[in-house]
């Protein structure tokens, strides 16, 4: 998995996505721009991060969950 390892921990690209969201990128397009990852990878990664309860989606926007906030602190 590109963004979450089988053990549930975010991978390097998963961490980059989380950091980008923390720094204000809330849409897949903004995350892609900030991380340099292709848009298709970001969209797929965000689905995985949502499944792992690290991000929450509202409409087109994503925000970190408290679990992700903890991980990044």
């Amino acid at each position: 998995m590109p963004c979450v390892s089988p053990d549930g921990k975010p991978t390097k690209s998963g961490m980059a996505t989380l950091s980008a969201i923390k720094n204000g990128a809330s849409t897949p397009e903004a995350v892609s721009e900030k991380t340099g990852q292709p848009l298709f990878k970001v969209r797929s990664g965000l689905r995985e991060l949502a499944k792992a309860e690290l991000v929450e989606q509202k409409d087109e926007n994503y925000k970190l969950t408290s679990k992700a906030e903890q991980l990044l602190s």
Binding site: M1, P2, C3, P38, L39, F40, K41, R43, S44, G45, R47, E48
Partner: protein
Amino acid sequence: MESSKKPEVGLPLIGEKAPDFEAVTTQGTLKLSDFEGSWLVMFSHPADFTPVCTTEFIAFTKIYGELQKRNTELLGLSVDSVSSHIAWVRNVEEKMGVKIPFPIIADLNKEVSNKFGMIHPAQSKTETVRCVFIIDPESKIRTILYYPLTTGRNMNEILRIVDALQTTDKHKVATPANWNVGDPVVVPPPNSTEGAEERVKEGYDCKDWYLCFKKL
């Protein structure tokens, strides 16, 4: 009696929306809709660890940068497991020094290959033939190429087609035989006698009213 669901077998045609799917790949689970907004060259190969496919993957990797400049992604597919794909791309990197940068679908249950008509049973019942689907940013199929198992694909032609499709979309023109970027393009023929009369006065390089070229 348990009902068995028949696999969805088909061949989407040029101009139709490509059937969406969700598939396990070497870069995670991807949906076709993940690629919306960019062009996509989706291709199948018969099997991992086979010689012609290896040369093709190296060649696809060589044009990947050029494709990206054209807002175009690559997505491979074969009826192999993700572990086999991972082992093969690692082997290509180790033995050939080429890192495969694009995702490859592990289509073990043939769900995607059946949807896109990639299995031609008279060639092989278990392997996909060499298909190329060029899909536009709205997920519409714009080009379909098929090659037999024994013939490796021509990457320059794939790049040329992407250039031609993008040029057509941008300038509302067509591209003649053997066209390459920089060559004159074909102005769409007029569809009325009045248009035909006007066409020859419009300053294009016209051989006749129905065949006019212009430089972009």
